[in-house]
Symmetry: C2
Amino acid sequence: MKLIGKALIAQGGGPTAVINQSMAGVIDEARKHDQITKIYGALRGVEGIINEEFIDLTQETSHNLEQVAHTPSSALFSTRVKPDENYCKSIFKVLKAHDIRYFFYIGGNDSADTVHIVSEQAKLDNYEFRAIHIPKTIDNDLLVNDHTPGYSSAARFVMQAFSGINLDMRALSGVYIGIVMGRNSGFLTASAAAAQNFPDDGPHLIYLPERPFIIEHFVADVQKVYLQHGYCVVSVSEGIKDPSGSPIIVSLLRDIEKDAHGNVTMSGTGALGDLLTQAVKEKLKISRVRSDTFGYIQRCFLGCVSDVDQKEAREAGENAVQFALSNSCDGSVTIHRVGDYVVEYRMTPLAELAGKTKHMPDDFINAAGNHVTNAFKDYLRPLLGSNLPSTNRLKAPKVPKILKVNT
Amino acid sequence: MKLIGKALIAQGGGPTAVINQSMAGVIDEARKHDQITKIYGALRGVEGIINEEFIDLTQETSHNLEQVAHTPSSALFSTRVKPDENYCKSIFKVLKAHDIRYFFYIGGNDSADTVHIVSEQAKLDNYEFRAIHIPKTIDNDLLVNDHTPGYSSAARFVMQAFSGINLDMRALSGVYIGIVMGRNSGFLTASAAAAQNFPDDGPHLIYLPERPFIIEHFVADVQKVYLQHGYCVVSVSEGIKDPSGSPIIVSLLRDIEKDAHGNVTMSGTGALGDLLTQAVKEKLKISRVRSDTFGYIQRCFLGCVSDVDQKEAREAGENAVQFALSNSCDGSVTIHRVGDYVVEYRMTPLAELAGKTKHMPDDFINAAGNHVTNAFKDYLRPLLGSNLPSTNRLKAPKVPKILKVNT
């Protein structure tokens, strides 16, 4: 029997460049099916649900919806709130009152956990509805998925940034340390490797949360590269940890700021970059050492997007509706690489990925733990999308010296 | 009588996204004139000259040259060295030995000063040659010019970054402080204003080196915006100064690092952003306050370029050759806005801009000194180039509440 009622869409966690594509995919697909009577959007994720802050997306024009789909960040706004059981009880009161039978929540592993709790609560309450999680995270840290919407565009940004920085440092020499997002998974930091065009291009070193960070090894690595190439470009994850597993940045910040999920805030401060800069300056006596923390520039930058990412985010949203209507179970839409390059969308039980973190697999990290492997580069390449800009060098030969004043 | 001999091209100072367009413009144009017998490139600016580190650009293929023209950063590498009289005497020995009669130096006001010294030295030495300065700087701080190649692309990057950040902060609330390059001139920091699409979009506040920065006023401004909009996005120049004219960042850095021109290094550290973040957190009790220092990401980002900027950088290079051949004086190629939007390239005596700094004119800054005027937005708009991405919002109406649990 067909489940007839309203659909509700919400967006949770950190925004991405393509999260609105998933929302537009849900709306577009839902409009084609009579059993979905209306499509609501909750403003600010689960917060918007308990506060009944809904907008009627049924009344959104197609053209504007398409423009919003191409706009980065969460058009429905977001939240860091993680519902407990009581919070979920409030959610159900609202869902029932509004006759909402389909719930689509676009988010990361914390949001998947929310969908899972809501789904379980619905069963306990004997309330018939479908709760579907649609993946989204620039960190690419969702289990089961080959990769997640949002990652590929952020990776493209990181790649384009490091391409320019590599040329900048090559022109003026010195050491550059770029701090990239990635609390526990190094996928985004590792994507800087795609900037390596010529064999001696940076990033020459990459440090990930998956391997212990030992500052003496880091300094020795930088020295080696600097002596070889005359400059050194480094990509460092904000989440690098000491051998005990404690994040380096934690010992740096006197007042540790935690979000509602108990996560330490790592972005929005230049402290880690400044620490590493200081270490290189003091120990190697290199005067030109620079660091930037990519921070919030990297996840929603307007106009730097992977078209593959856009397409997949859209399809994930469309598939969510298809699964909700044709499957009689709740779950998460997951992306699976089944060809080179082809993906497939499947329905996965929420318990398999909710609240869990995927890390970089061992074969993506080199033996020294300071760079990636070609296997990772092969994994990343198709995700970055088409029309990827590249860099070139002059090839003109040297002119013989005449005076040789300085030789 | 025609001056016959070789041409030498060099690039100085910080790189830009279009500096190689100017180089390609010189090469392309020079190849059309027999009196220029060969075209050399000096590696690492004036350093490359005294060390005779030349490459023979005459042997560069057209296709590769075009690819390099589209590659950001200085393909001939750069230098921060500023020649004194002795340094210039060494330069002349080399110029004479290689029969170089045309010298094209692409750079900012320090490079213009170098060209000026070299030009004067040539007259003293009675050595017949042409020394031409081609403008380049993301800071847009060259006198006489309406604007300079390199600025428009960096401005486009800053605009696209703030567009994304505005949406990010709008989705999750809080205060964001973006530190943008600009030691003494606020043009680049001010370009964030182009990100304002809807009237309540950020950046809501902009602080420039042209106005004294008083931290109490800054905190009060942030509070006012935050109460009005629920979030606040701020663009701050790295070069903001206290009422005595001393840069805020100087008092923050124990060991002040200066480059060869006596300039304090302001980029490559998150210290200023962290200071302002701390002030807002402590005084306003707002928990979510984030800061990023744009640093080196902004000036050579691969794939974010203004086509207007590309064209003008190219034309500046081409005009440099034309002026060198048809005028019998040295000078700087300057860009003048003569229509809406049309520019003209002129030859300006080096003394008029060498070593000097252009600031934001008063009518580009609002009365409160915390934002720009529409006059500035009108000035900036045509420079950003075509196909500028924009942002959109959902327009769906609110759904009436049923339970009103929380009201």
